[in-house]
Symmetry: D3
Subunit: 255 residues, 6 copies
Amino acid sequence: MSPYRVDGRRHDELRPVSLERGVNRYAEGSAIIRWGNTVVHCTASVEDKVPSFRRGLGAGWLTAEYSMLPRATHDRSPRDVQRGRMSGRSSEIQRLIGRSMRAAVDLTLIGERTILIDCDVLQADGGTRTASITCAFVCLVDALRAIFSVNQSRALPLTSQVAAVSVGKVGGAPMLDLCYEEDSHADVDCNVVMTGLGDFVEFQGTGEGGFFSRTELDDMLRLASIGMSSLFSLQRNSLELSPQESILFDELCAK
Amino acid sequence: MSPYRVDGRRHDELRPVSLERGVNRYAEGSAIIRWGNTVVHCTASVEDKVPSFRRGLGAGWLTAEYSMLPRATHDRSPRDVQRGRMSGRSSEIQRLIGRSMRAAVDLTLIGERTILIDCDVLQADGGTRTASITCAFVCLVDALRAIFSVNQSRALPLTSQVAAVSVGKVGGAPMLDLCYEEDSHADVDCNVVMTGLGDFVEFQGTGEGGFFSRTELDDMLRLASIGMSSLFSLQRNSLELSPQESILFDELCAK
Amino acid sequence: MSPYRVDGRRHDELRPVSLERGVNRYAEGSAIIRWGNTVVHCTASVEDKVPSFRRGLGAGWLTAEYSMLPRATHDRSPRDVQRGRMSGRSSEIQRLIGRSMRAAVDLTLIGERTILIDCDVLQADGGTRTASITCAFVCLVDALRAIFSVNQSRALPLTSQVAAVSVGKVGGAPMLDLCYEEDSHADVDCNVVMTGLGDFVEFQGTGEGGFFSRTELDDMLRLASIGMSSLFSLQRNSLELSPQESILFDELCAK
Amino acid sequence: MSPYRVDGRRHDELRPVSLERGVNRYAEGSAIIRWGNTVVHCTASVEDKVPSFRRGLGAGWLTAEYSMLPRATHDRSPRDVQRGRMSGRSSEIQRLIGRSMRAAVDLTLIGERTILIDCDVLQADGGTRTASITCAFVCLVDALRAIFSVNQSRALPLTSQVAAVSVGKVGGAPMLDLCYEEDSHADVDCNVVMTGLGDFVEFQGTGEGGFFSRTELDDMLRLASIGMSSLFSLQRNSLELSPQESILFDELCAK
Amino acid sequence: MSPYRVDGRRHDELRPVSLERGVNRYAEGSAIIRWGNTVVHCTASVEDKVPSFRRGLGAGWLTAEYSMLPRATHDRSPRDVQRGRMSGRSSEIQRLIGRSMRAAVDLTLIGERTILIDCDVLQADGGTRTASITCAFVCLVDALRAIFSVNQSRALPLTSQVAAVSVGKVGGAPMLDLCYEEDSHADVDCNVVMTGLGDFVEFQGTGEGGFFSRTELDDMLRLASIGMSSLFSLQRNSLELSPQESILFDELCAK
Amino acid sequence: MSPYRVDGRRHDELRPVSLERGVNRYAEGSAIIRWGNTVVHCTASVEDKVPSFRRGLGAGWLTAEYSMLPRATHDRSPRDVQRGRMSGRSSEIQRLIGRSMRAAVDLTLIGERTILIDCDVLQADGGTRTASITCAFVCLVDALRAIFSVNQSRALPLTSQVAAVSVGKVGGAPMLDLCYEEDSHADVDCNVVMTGLGDFVEFQGTGEGGFFSRTELDDMLRLASIGMSSLFSLQRNSLELSPQESILFDELCAK
């Protein structure tokens, strides 16, 4: 197994990741994540109503939408609206983002409100869904801050700190954080969503053009854990936590 | 952990599963799978053309569609065509079925043909996607038999025997093959697609309303393996293998 | 006129028809009809609401939907949802089924409920709309039984026993119950929906590629009557009528 | 049975009907039919291509489309495009118009051309589908004249003269040509499409809210025949037949 | 600059324009405008409700829809509903018609009602949007008369008399009222909506395939004014104003 | 007329505008324009094919698409794909952008290629369409540079330098470059697209809730001219013109 990859990284090395908060003046939470050459624009919007299937429960709801700008990719893709419907891929990804974010918040504590997470990919170089989740968490926290701003002594109703990363098997070797070129040649492609305490929210492993053994699964999960700790730190630093919030986040994250 | 479940099964016990082949007189492959109270009707259709993105490669293609009859569920659901588009859930499931079946066949050996798998759920009581995959494999084999019937000395271009089962964590305990009632209260819901040799084709674990630790993941994977061996036997028995085919299947399946 | 047909039947002979009730554990009424090689799966669902145009009248409503599985036919057809809309043919057929079933029941007596009839063709060999109607009537009776089960002394609000059969002119000769091969060569194709008392609910005669004279119309109607009596008996036997219900059905059907 | 109707007509009397040809300067055939208060605008367009399923046969095709302007009716109806799809009713009617017109022409003699009939209802007072058919025939003849204009010695490839009228049972009495008010209270509503020689092209009888006996069917068919002869004369007069065409029409119509 | 045009008109001359009111017996206002070979059918419908975004304001709303019959043009165009959506061009035009008509009426004085203007082009030879606006104003007045008919002493809540005309630059020369042949070769195409007092409601100038200088803009606006005075007279004459209405229109129109 | 506005600007003063080129690594041209609080992301993509209606002409084509991210606005708006179709407003704007850009380039000189301009509004505070056009021109130039990069001695096939700005009448006073708050209270709203030589490409003036006189039109056009000169300079500076390109731009722009 060669120690270096197409972009010179070690097999257990993330690409450079950064978060820029507050990129939209209207949204309750907003951020752009730059993860290698992948760039995702996220907003979290708070609406004072819930979908009909949640009405009257006294609890809130959270949903997510995901889309790519037409030229986010090497070749331009037609917009969904031109085809009259969302692609199966987009639908699958936004459902994943929604489930992951609902795992981070206690919706019974936000009142009959809906938090809508919008993830729009400005540039795609692999890992757009994991970048979306990692960035969406930061927007979610800002949206919760907006909801609870009138009563600052109240703790944010977070139940987990959530981030996501991809791992895969490329050329027979397990690797962390696949870029597009690696992803397109991967035997196995996994997306791992985890909590700060090391539990799994989602694990999706796909062996199109290949399988993965139990041993390979173990190797990939170990790599994912390595990447996670950087991502959780990045989220914390980006969020500029108050002392009270820092205590909450300490509880949500293994040291 | 209580040893018995809502329907009296042990935590590592499948519901009764049966396969009825040849239920459609036109389709190259067809079967109905009855898995507890879940009933799925599958056909495999062979068309002598490939989608445009596969044209001229000399290879074939395989795709799948999944749908539920309106009253497959406790309450009637509107048809997709009434809403003008496929639900995100159906889209996600049919993509999973397609990937799983493409993992079972060497498409470069079937010529410029498309195999279309249709999975229509007549009655749903949990596990419709895993039932669809397990049944679709049988239809796929019959479709390959139809393609290669003129040259019976040629081995079927199967690369794996593929089946699927659900596992989950219900009330804190790992369980095999969740029925609808268990699924709707599950902390964690996983769908496992495996090959006869014990490798993973897909693993999708979702912790909506809960997380799963590394230990729980290990427990659930062990349960999945137990269920798989029954399903592989059921598929073989249902397929009424010729001696030559039996040799092939012996290679595709761990004894 | 040759006395025998492509499948050896006489010109006034139905194909074998059977009804299997109770095929769905959730629906208030359900049955599969097997009519020659045509197989249709029907359910009747009861919902405790009516469409907006019927609200506040104190009466119920009944509507029907018809669809074919993609491989119900010799060649696979794309699903309606792929094309984004229902085919004109499906729309026309489901309107016919709905009108025919509304002719069988007094909707003012079922309260503000909607009965939804779903007819899904698993296999098509001609006569799918008449098979749907004949089967839907049986599901409708079971749905009415479910609505009125708490008050068994109340008679079911049936106004007619309704069944349907096709007749046509093939090779110049009138024939009862066309199979697909006959239908595709027919000069005239008629669908007849009748009551047990011999009245017409619907008569649709179409002479694509041919006309029909008044005499030929008379001949075809005579053949339809012959077929109807078998279908009414089949429905009655299938329904396992209680003594009270038998009295009602005696009134709805000419002996 | 009262001899007079809501608008003072006898039960066997048509409303006033007139045809105005040449209302569109681009279309190969065009006319407006005014039938009582029903007004339909028809065009027949000729295109030098056929749909893919007819290509290479050396024969032509004919298809029809039907639509109502939003305020053709007492209350305004939303346009189909607002709802994103054609209504089931429109779809059913345009299929009927298409079949009826295909029964009037020998498509093997028009080359690989498509004749598109567009029927747009400007004002609706019952009988829009039969008015459409009666008017479309006139447009069809003009379209055929346009196709064959270069070779005037060639006879038009008409196989029948086709017109249509409604009949029904209102208040227990059979009546010819229902206006909207009669139609909305009818027990039975029939649309009859016939040839000049007295054969049926289509017969659609619908007993929503009522049935019709064999005797009533006979009565209604007799009324339809009475109406037909006026309509065939109207079409001939409107078409300003050449001597050669008159000979052809004499053959297509019983004196 | 040649003084004569393709149809012999002077550069500052309108085509013949006529208005026929009362063409639909159900609509509160209706008219057909014939403007050269362009023919547009307009209705104004009054509904006793407003869209949700206007509810509870005590004021009304006005909206417009525009469509072309398939064979309004030289070559037949598919209906919008066949493509599943409105063309961008139709959408743009109907928004223009709606804005123009809202400029003519004080919606706060009509109660919670909606006036729906439908403009359906029967034949198109250039200038369909300006013909639609000019005709729609007449229908709007009739709709207001219908709303206020119970209280005839109340003045109609008109704020302007509104009409529209096209101007353009063809072959370098400014021209009034382009026909289709001129429009298709125009360097610049402008649509001008004005009030009777000479103010602009809308001005849309488009230089596809060319630009227009400030001087040319001035020339074109002067031509538009010339055309407007004829159109305002035509509207007044068509409307058969009562003495009281004449006083109102005198105020709305420069002498 | 008060000399100061809601944000302290003079009535003839633009908000701060900046262009950032090269924001997308795949697109042939890309830029973000920040115009006050309005932020638009533009890309220009080159494809080596043309739409069917342009095939075989040896010339190219240019088209544009416009969309807003859901939370570009104060309140979140649903995505077009959720509603199944593009809004009329978006359709109208993207047609304007396309026409404006086609006025800047000689498409006969780019071969059978299509340039696709995508304008996605990240944040909206008025003037998104004029910002899109001003930014799209810069992306267009970079796309032309990419097409002609192999032959650098060839001049870019630009026919005009094109930019756009809004003007309006607010509180009775003409103003340059309306922000959202001004726009929502404007009596008149105009969008002006001009060339560097002072000609008009498009002028769209809309008086919803008000009219504009000829004098006011003149005032607004004078303000537009003032804004244009800043925008043309900004585009030139942003483009980092080569000496050869500077000569070309000198010809396209009045000094």
